[in-house]
Symmetry: D2
Subunit: 341 residues, 4 copies
Amino acid sequence: MSSLTVGIVGATGYTALEALRWLIPHPQVDVVAITSRGDSGQPISSIHPSLAGKTELAVEKFDATSMAGRCDVVLSCLPHGASAATVRELVEAGTRVIDFSADFRLADLETYENWYGVKHPWPEMLGKVPYGMPEFFESEITEAKLVANPGCYPTSAILPIAPLVEASIVKTEDIIIDSKTGVSGAGRSAKVGMLFCEVNESTAAYGIGVHRHGPEINELVERITGDSIQSIFTPHLTPMNRGILSTIYLKPSIVDLKDAVGESMATLTKAYQNQPFISVVEHLPATGHVRGTHHVQISLRSSGNRLVAVCAIDNLAKGASSAAVQNLNVMFGLPATLGLN
Amino acid sequence: MSSLTVGIVGATGYTALEALRWLIPHPQVDVVAITSRGDSGQPISSIHPSLAGKTELAVEKFDATSMAGRCDVVLSCLPHGASAATVRELVEAGTRVIDFSADFRLADLETYENWYGVKHPWPEMLGKVPYGMPEFFESEITEAKLVANPGCYPTSAILPIAPLVEASIVKTEDIIIDSKTGVSGAGRSAKVGMLFCEVNESTAAYGIGVHRHGPEINELVERITGDSIQSIFTPHLTPMNRGILSTIYLKPSIVDLKDAVGESMATLTKAYQNQPFISVVEHLPATGHVRGTHHVQISLRSSGNRLVAVCAIDNLAKGASSAAVQNLNVMFGLPATLGLN
Amino acid sequence: MSSLTVGIVGATGYTALEALRWLIPHPQVDVVAITSRGDSGQPISSIHPSLAGKTELAVEKFDATSMAGRCDVVLSCLPHGASAATVRELVEAGTRVIDFSADFRLADLETYENWYGVKHPWPEMLGKVPYGMPEFFESEITEAKLVANPGCYPTSAILPIAPLVEASIVKTEDIIIDSKTGVSGAGRSAKVGMLFCEVNESTAAYGIGVHRHGPEINELVERITGDSIQSIFTPHLTPMNRGILSTIYLKPSIVDLKDAVGESMATLTKAYQNQPFISVVEHLPATGHVRGTHHVQISLRSSGNRLVAVCAIDNLAKGASSAAVQNLNVMFGLPATLGLN
Amino acid sequence: MSSLTVGIVGATGYTALEALRWLIPHPQVDVVAITSRGDSGQPISSIHPSLAGKTELAVEKFDATSMAGRCDVVLSCLPHGASAATVRELVEAGTRVIDFSADFRLADLETYENWYGVKHPWPEMLGKVPYGMPEFFESEITEAKLVANPGCYPTSAILPIAPLVEASIVKTEDIIIDSKTGVSGAGRSAKVGMLFCEVNESTAAYGIGVHRHGPEINELVERITGDSIQSIFTPHLTPMNRGILSTIYLKPSIVDLKDAVGESMATLTKAYQNQPFISVVEHLPATGHVRGTHHVQISLRSSGNRLVAVCAIDNLAKGASSAAVQNLNVMFGLPATLGLN
């Protein structure tokens, strides 16, 4: 089989760099076009010096027709709001798209416009785009012209929560999700708050009660399980480049907490038995255990009258770019693990 | 007034080093003796090279009578279990002691022996030693021969929780305390898990449901407020030297959440209006804001149906060594802020 | 004696924040005015949240007459080029100034204009402003209206080199200065290259052969010793907030290398015997040993046919803001160590 | 072709973990045995939790005959001194070995025994073992029963120096090599000096004039070029997990420095034109550019009368474990880049 031709839109950020890190050695992929608003003509290695010696690609100006003509699939690494219009052009020009932004993750227009504060440029698509989590939506992704790549925090929360809600081991109310992320989640634009000296040797909460990944978690758990949950999501910034650790406080439906831990571990193990990159482990996960990889580690403990689930992912990998590669494999019928080891 | 003479027992660890960092420039203190089991005779600056040029002190072997003869007060930086017997010798030899360990923090012998797994060498003292948090126990500390210096995590949890429970703004049940600490809390002994490469670029939960600071938080909030609380405490390790950020999920008693936030902020502001080192702030605290200082920053938000309090301290300063200096000031009638700026 | 009134111009950067960290607890100083172009009226603690609870100062618009009327001395934390004109206004309005920029460090106009690429707004002052290193220029500083606060890298290089050149223990040729700095030296403006994810987990050389601190080192060693040296200076960026370590390769004049090490150590020890903050130590210095302090650690080894001097400072403290406090003490006849412990 | 069977001796350290990271996804390799003195029977993922979900391998007790019977090649990740005897057993039992230790890198017994302070258990092999740098010793490696995997620092120094010495563009005298490493080079044994809090936020020189990689650099440059060089090597510890940046000060033979830079860049470019992982780049390399990869970046500048070469590698990858994979590819006639992207 000849290689898939892949394009990337929005090439200067960290998720695009990470996508290239995964796609360049992928045995069935040729990256043929990368675009950026600001830096047309430059070799991509002058923007990301870690690509020196790895690719000769240069950044070009975006042209939907040209990209659609050359690419079997395009990854859009644009921010929300900006992405939807570009994605629409690409899809209408006839190529398949994996969208890294939040623009097509939510099904409900009102929720989107309330939380993101922008008018949606392609509202009729909402609800028709599969959420790019093949663990739950594989068949929809296989067929899709457009896939909504999941948010980083939601990935770390949905994977442990959904099977437990589905199995009714935990209650749907008063779920508390306390997440800790590395700094790359903030992107690569120059902001004082993300300078090394601001972030290093410091941990901070932010966006309490108002972060947009809260509704994404709630809506997706409902889409997967049919059960509406009531959760609180608090993100924190910690001094590391990569990684998300989510600590999730759940109320067990089972009276005996030891039983609840055992059943929860068994349920998660079974839910992901065919997912080679999701490990339900005895030890407590650390983000360092999955750094730079597509792997997910989940474990569970009890504390007081709560179940506490802990989930570690790499926010740039399973939380963004290797998840897109996983979706690409599914969309084109490639082996599920190709290029992901 | 002539200077207080101060001794330090257990001089090789981080809390002793930090105590010296605060005591050496303290205008009313002379550090006259420091002891260690292993390194007798050595200049302390050969153990802690950051003390080069700051002190000529050498480490001596511990002798209770000698120390009591020379010191107005001794700081015991020994670990729990080991500390109580030494503290007893010192107190019986006639000197006052501030104990950094957990040995005299809890009032209940059974709780202590269950959670710490050791027989207490001086059980009759339990319940008679003030908890070294002058914000709540100033008069007891003033009189005390022995003060139990608070735990680092409990400091970051008790300060925001106690006034809110006291004022009945929050319910006593289902309090969730999710704390993130720097690595110095693990001490200075050689352990693979605390090597730079294990901890750097990684965040991890540990001790879920079994960390000993859980019962300390519960017991102290009850001792302060008279109300028994039911809380869950989860510590996390983040890649920084210093700092604790505690994110605390509380259930408001007040129906309107906006009102609850406002009343909570007002209650905390009032509770600490005479505490120059505790700031109730509008912005969300970060550990970097209080790094290296005795300061505490607390703020509050709502999220879903919860109040979320965030508290930042430096675990080695207000969480250990500058807290001991604050206690020393109170014990000897010195100005409250002396040597703490 | 009543307190000195101090003003700070350019209050939003790291050196101004660090100056406040030293000046607020200084027992003979009142900071009475801080100015900034962009943020007039705001409390300084909203720009630097670590100042919450420490000062009520608000940022004001710069006015030379007003500042001169209220301040015994003003610290200018503006960048080079911008600083000289402001400094001139302040001095002409009658106040004394400590200038953090490079504008008055070099005596030679041509060297300045070549290396800094700007026209000097007050060229007639060049050569009349003492270099703010009281170790060598104490009497000039005592009298001065204007003092040029030293550069961070030059501080770490001049302190070990000057006494050895003075004593003719080392040759003046082929001196190689390889320096490693923390990131705060790059300032607090938003630049992609200083984002956490760019700098963390990475070490890089920069400015090889073209960094402006090269000529500053050469000129000052000559001003101090009378001997012209020929040195090469290479700065490196390492992932830490603070600290400079300079490794300096010198050619000994003495044939026997062991003798050369011994004589060099003795010479440095003697040179700094009255400088309580400069320690000539047996161990190899690390920037962590002096972090957050005004202290300097210097040591020496031999390697092949070279003497290798190693010097550690905190770039924001002795490399900038505590050095300014030291100059302030000298300018106003205060005890040399006041406020520096 | 069926896969090569590979064994690893000394499986608990960082280089063994890194070797597994490279070998597990290698398309022509099956790791069939890993051994360790202390942890027999345990799954390797309980020692290195980042291997959870990636391998079922358990650690076994070392037995040379058994390993030789099962393995086409064994990687010895033991420390120097301990490695040579084990390597001998393995080679004599009939398997090929790549030795990560320094035991067979030097050809001269006296140099080895002087610098390493141990008696060599297999001295007759010295001088007969190729240095595992296929850039210079490809044909010897192809044939070898035993290959000496290069030291991390020497890799970063030899690659830029050797071609320039070979081409006589630089003088052989007074070469100064100032290297900065991440902490993983210190290994995974519990030492106070490598604790997070000791190393974080600190940069330090160590081993000045006495580090064992000094003679390795000198001997290998001579073995490659025939010219004896006189160099000084100074290692530094910086707060990052991985990476070495070597800054190398060379004296040009060419009078015009601009010409010298140009010729040097051209010489290096030509020397490595067939080496896909070695990039001679215009920008100044940073260790972050090559982190986690087998890539090397080299650049050059002039400063004063010196050429300054800068070389960045990942100490665990090209400095250790991916270099072993590269050697394995050469030893068994596999494509040079297999498993290295």
